[in-house]
């Protein structure tokens, strides 16, 4: 086993350590903090490259290597953790560290004026560590732990501007909504553990993703006629749906744009949301357990596909009617994640992962570009107030255009290849053509809304000054961002354009790499995929054209002007801009239900449980009352009288106690009289 496999943990540990060190540093040690974070990330990147090379140069079985160790024991068993290096890990490592490194650098510029600069880098580093931990984990438990820490850091970063109540609320929402999904993952994990007795993915034949375990899991059925593997798979999918913003757990993702833009780029576009897809890719053997020769599929994969399809369409539809530049991208991200799910469900790991990788680059690019735009417009995020930025921010515009074209799937850009492959696998899916049609519509919409955004932001003249009251900083006009921000943009633009060539049907290097094969150039494959490519290209161009038709022909001048769709179909537009009112629906149902349940529970506590106790105590009090009634009116009558006479007698006796000795003596005499009389006549009787 090579050095890098043994020490793969360093990839995750370095940023963690950096985060830990930064957390105890002084607030003003800004340069050091940023340096530590960037340095650790750079080192991780180097290590990731080494790991990549290691995988690249090994063949067959050797492409998957792991290193396990014992963690703690319970009863007779030990819980073992470990890390794993396989093509999936390697490619993700490189992507995350590379994108992460660029975003770290970008953040130096973007956050330069923030007073909590140091804390930002602390959180970023922690996030990177946790994310890399997810990638290298060879144990679902370890993966889950890092997964949760990813969620935590996401929470911290979304709520980074904690003084904004909306940011704090968005952070909370993100954490809770993803946690709902995580509970499914948690249960799935417990179930898997119970069934297979291990959570190690690969453990020389004993792991839970290896043939022995999978055969058993696929054989047994459980509720609803699901096979165990599907049931567990669906539970695990809950977790990834939460993280990847799949319907119905998507509501947190648009709100998460409250965080600083680099965070949106890093976490909510490139890496964390992709972790959901990565998780599914990781447990793909489980999801697909029981599939024989690709003829049938499993329930779990169907669920993944359909949820992905719905999300893809949903995100694309809603993105059409957004005004916030980042929200458009957020819904777009959702939609693209849906594509990945479709790809994963219909075509397998390589299809989904390819889009994941290309998407990570161009979406990070788009977000960073959006961040640059926001930075240039002094914090303005509403595209209605932008416009004409092509001249003001040429570099940003150029880079952004690459990203936009890649996202739309314009031929030869990276997004084209990966999306096309998804559509292809959806097309040949044997169960239904539904996902394919949905995917096609989504692609059309994607091209449409991106055109709309581009035109709003970059075309025409600036509308920023028109609304001078809105510009908080009082600057006039937009300006280009500093080099520290634009250089990462340009670097990212390169893979956004060319990365797709690593996975074309002609030379499916990426796919073969993931499967541990060597890729061969075969032009024959092009023949099968070619018609579909034409179709999808057409779809994209129709979308672009539609966008230009609606927005480009006659440029927007007035800030307050209605959207073209809004003026044509106001009802539809509002439905879309309100994201189908899912938030409101949840607020009215789930949230309300929980709140009601909470107050019911408090009520139960007060009136039922407390009530029983109170009833019992009341019964006792009642007894006491009855007793006291009897006392007052029956016993006490006598008792009172007795008391009265005692008190009278007391006062009488106290008068007797006058200190007169003779009077005392007199009583003795009387007492003697009485005693003798009693004795005498009593004795007689």
């Amino acid at each position: 086993m090579s050095w890098i496999v043994h020490n793969l943990w360093l990839v995750a540990a370095l940023p963690f350590a950096a985060g830990g060190v930064i957390s105890v540093m002084k607030q003003r040690q800004r340069t050091l903090a940023a340096g530590l974070a960037v340095g650790s990330m750079a080192l991780s990147f180097v290590l990731a490259l080494m790991a990549f090379v290691q995988v690249l140069t090994s063949h067959g079985e050797a492409t998957r290597q792991f290193s396990n160790f014992a963690w703690f024991q319970f009863g007779a068993e030990w819980v073992r953790l470990g890390w794993l290096l396989d093509p999936l890990t390697a490619v993700m490592l490189v992507m995350v560290t590379f994108v992460g490194l660029l975003i770290f650098i970008y953040s130096i510029g973007y956050m330069a004026e923030d007073e909590n600069f140091k804390r930002f880098f602390c959180f970023l580093a922690l996030f990177a560590g946790a994310m890399l931990g997810v990638l290298i984990a060879n144990n679902l438990l370890l993966l889950f732990m890092c997964w949760e820490i990813v969620g935590l850091t996401s929470y911290l970063l979304i709520g980074f501007w904690y003084e904004k109540p909306s940011a704090a609320a968005a952070a909370k929402k993100a954490f809770i909504v993803t946690r709902i999904g995580d509970l499914g993952l948690f249960l799935g994990m417990a179930w898997l553990y119970a069934q297979t007795g291990t959570l190690l993915f690969y453990d020389a034949g004993r792991g839970c993703l290896e043939a022995n375990a999978l055969t058993t899991l696929a054989m047994h059925t459980t509720v609803f006629g699901l096979t165990l593997s599907s049931a567990i798979g669906i539970l695990i999918f809950c977790g990834s749906a939460g993280k990847s913003g799949q319907v119905p757990l998507h509501v947190w993702l648009p709100d998460a744009m409250e965080g600083p833009t680099p965070v949106s780029a890093l976490i909510h576009a490139a890496t964390m949301v992709a972790a959901g897809v990565f998780l599914l890719a990781r447990v793909y053997p489980l999801l697909s357990a029981g599939v024989t020769h690709g003829m049938t599929t499993t329930v779990a994969l169907q669920v993944v596909t359909w949820v992905g399809a719905i999300t893809a369409l949903f995100g694309a539809l809603v993105a059409v009617a957004q005004w916030d530049i980042k929200r458009i991208l957020a819904y777009s991200t959702m939609s693209q994640l849906g594509y990945m799910m479709i790809g994963l469900g219909t075509g397998g790991v390589s299809v989904g992962m390819f889009h994941l990788i290309t998407h990570a680059f161009f979406k990070a690019l788009l977000f960073l570009g959006a961040g640059s735009v926001i930075h240039g417009c002094h914090g303005e995020q509403d595209i209605r107030f932008m416009g004409g930025l092509r001249k003001a921010m040429p570099v940003t515009f150029a880079a952004y255009s690459c990203g936009m074209l890649a996202l739309c799937g314009v031929p030869l850009f990276s997004g084209f290849w990966s999306k096309d492959e998804i559509l292809h696998s959806a097309f040949v899916w044997n169960l239904s053509r539904g996902p394919f049609y949905i995917g096609a519509i989504g692609a059309l919409l994607t091209a449409f809304y991106m055109t709309r955004q581009m035109i709003y932001v970059y075309a025409g003249t600036t509308r920023l000054a028109a609304e001078s009251t809105h510009g908080e900083h009082g600057h006039s006009g937009a300006h280009e961002s500093p080099k520290v921000m634009t250089v990462p943009l340009l670097i990212l633009a390169v893979p956004a354009v060319v990365l797709g060539f690593f996975g074309t049907p002609v030379w499916p290097w990426f796919q073969s790499f993931l499967e541990g094969d060597t890729a061969n150039v075969s032009f024959g494959a092009l023949g099968g995929a070619f018609p579909l490519m034409i179709v999808s290209s057409l779809i994209v161009f129709v979308g672009l054209g539609l966008g230009w038709l609606l927005y480009g022909r006659k440029l927007i001048v007035d800030v307050g002007a209605l959207d073209r769709i809004e003026s044509a179909q106001p009802g539809l537009f509002h439905l879309l801009s309100g994201a189908f009112y899912i938030n409101e629906l949840y607020a009215a149902t789930v949230v309300r239900f929980t709140l009601v349940a909470a107050s019911v529970s408090a009520w139960l506590d007060r009136w039922i449980f407390g009530g029983v106790v109170r009833a019992i105590s009341t019964i006792f009090v009642l007894f006491a009352k009855v007793d006291s009634f009897a006392d007052t009116h029956v016993v006490n009558r006598g008792f009172d009288a007795g008391c009265g006479s005692v008190s009278y007698g007391g006062s009488f006796l106290s008068k007797l106690q006058a200190g007169k000795v003779q009077r005392y003596l007199k009583f003795v005499g009387v007492a003697l009289f009485v005693a003798v009389a009693l004795l005498f006549w009593g004795g007689k009787a």
């Binding site: 948690f186 417990a190 007795g197």
Partner: protein, 518 residues
């Protein structure tokens, strides 16, 4: 048999401490504070020494001290610890220190207060080491007295009803338990836990119960259930299990925060300790026969506890309910462990996971809850006694370190991986899921709601705009950071390397899993 009496020494030390604090502290409050901390540190040192000398491969009792006490009634002075007892001793010692730390600002009758805290500690030590019912019961009850006075004298505005409710409620449970044990004594002629367990596991307890106390012509099985119900009630009130919990929120809210720390950190563990030490070895068949209601109770404790916490606005009440919720997971683990009879390897593994998780959770919850209440105490003193959520907001601006450290404690309570709460909850769920699937699945709701209300606390206290009146709110001083750091470090330590604790618990767990027979 009777080696050096470490355990007696450990129990006696705080008692001596209480005396010294009362006498020496009469002159200066400062002396009282430092002396009490000194004695608590001494106790912790002894506990750590025990920890160090503990033989991790032995499942049974160690450091046993056994002397006849009242031979006619078979009452013995019988002490000993296994892994569970040891971890509880350590927990009590730590929690006492935290409690003392959080009580530092008490100004009224200082020596008495600190002496009472030390007395509680002594009672805890006594209860966690005793192996004879009467001996144990003495400490169990004795514990209530200093706690009662702590609440009654230093509590909040509604302290008197709270203290009375606390005392009467727990006493009622104890009385039921005492009666049950008397019945068992009549049957088995012993008060020894281990002997009773042996007798019960060999199936001789029920026939002799029926022979000795044939009450209302019940069958032996029913009689066994009645006896079990009595003992169960005693522990259920202490833990508390919903619906026997109504004393808890009032008590925790009204008690001075230092006392709340002791109550939730250590005293609530006495109930769970009883479940593991007494109910599981002796009454496993009875538990199994009423397992469905028991599981419902566990689910209710988890879910309703967290939901009620969500509905509260007072910080102390929130965390009071949160305690109920967290201990509910322990109940789930315990009940799931006794669900199925048998001893095949699979079952034993699940059981071991559930019980390991339970014991770990007891320790972890003690540390975490105590630390959280410490932070509540800090918030309380700095804001002049405010505890309502609406009293705070935006404190992170002025007190970033406080926000960070308290955040860590809160996330530990939430069950964030990397911190201590996660491993125990995972083990419990891991073990309980195959044994009691639906109950475990329902309990995950509790995990979610816990996240909701804890994040809510963070949001309401630390985020948002800073309230005007807190503009002078001070961050933690260096000294406070130094004091709190060990607790936080412990959370990380146990979260990252739970084997530290589990290695000591494991032999005990193994033994316990094997005692569940029917």
């Amino acid at each position: 048999m009777n080696a050096f009496p470490w355990l007696s020494l450990l129990t006696a030390l705080p008692v001596v401490g209480a005396g010294v604090v009362l006498v020496a502290g009469a002159r200066s409050d400062r002396a009282a504070r430092f002396l009490s901390v000194g004695f608590a540190v001494g106790a912790l040192c002894i506990a750590l020494l025990l920890w160090h000398g503990f033989d991790v491969n032995v499942g049974g009792m160690q450091l046993v001290e056994q002397h006849a006490w009242v031979p006619a009634l078979h009452i013995q002075y019988h002490l000993g610890i296994d892994g569970l007892g040891l971890s509880m001793l350590l927990l009590s010692a730590i929690v006492t220190l935290i409690s003392l730390g959080a009580s530092w600002k008490i100004e009224d009758r200082v020596p008495l207060y600190f002496a009472l805290i030390l007395l509680v500690e002594a009672c805890l030590f006594g209860a966690f080491t005793a192996l004879n019912f009467i001996h144990w019961f003495t400490f169990w009850e004795l514990c209530l007295i200093p706690a009662f006075f702590l609440i009654k004298i230093w509590g909040g505005p509604r302290r008197t009803p709270a203290a009375t409710q606390f005392l009467v409620y727990t006493m009622a449970g104890s009385v039921a338990m005492l009666l049950s044990f008397l019945a068992m004594y009549l049957a088995a002629n012993t008060f020894e836990f281990e002997e009773l367990a042996t007798i019960a596991q060999s199936g001789r307890l029920l026939p002799s119960l029926a022979a000795s106390s044939s009450w209302m012509h019940l069958t032996p099985e029913h009689l066994g259930l009645v006896i079990f119900a009595g003992v169960f009630l005693g522990f259920a009130v202490k833990v508390p299990v919903i619906p026997f919990h109504t004393w808890l929120p009032d008590t925790y809210a009204e008690a001075p925060t230092g006392t709340t720390i002791l109550l939730t950190g250590a005293m609530s563990k006495m109930g769970l300790y009883g479940f593991l030490r007494i109910l599981v070895p002796i009454f496993a068949p009875q538990m199994q026969s009423v397992l469905t209601p028991l599981l419902w109770m566990a689910v209710a404790t988890v879910v309703l506890g967290s939901l009620s916490a969500m509905a509260q606005t007072d910080l102390k009440r929130i965390f009071a309910y949160s305690s109920i919720n967290h201990l509910g997971y322990c109940l789930l683990g315990i009940f799931a462990a006794v669900r199925y009879a048998g001893s095949d390897a699979q079952l034993l593994t699940q059981r071991a996971a559930a019980l390991s998780g339970t014991m770990l959770q007891m320790f972890n919850h003690g540390i975490t809850a105590a630390t959280i209440f410490w932070f509540v105490a800090i918030l309380e003193t700095r804001s002049g006694g405010a505890r309502e959520l609406s009293d705070f907001g935006g404190l992170r601006r002025n007190a970033p370190v406080l926000a960070g450290m308290m955040g860590i404690a809160l996330f530990s309570s939430l069950g964030l991986p990397g911190l201590n709460g996660f491993i125990s909850e995972f083990l419990i769920f891991k073990g309980a899921f195959p044994l009691a699937t639906w109950a475990t699945a329902l309990c995950t709701i509790g995990l979610l709601i816990t996240a909701v209300f804890i994040l809510n606390v963070i949001q309401r206290v630390f985020s948002g705009p800073l309230q005007e009146r807190h503009s002078n709110f001070l961050d933690l001083s260096g000294k406070e950071q130094m004091l709190l750091a060990p607790a936080i470090a412990l959370m990380f330590l146990l979260g990252l390397d739970p084997q530290i604790l589990l290695s000591h618990l494991n032999a005990t767990v193994l033994q316990l899993t094997n005692t569940i027979k029917f």
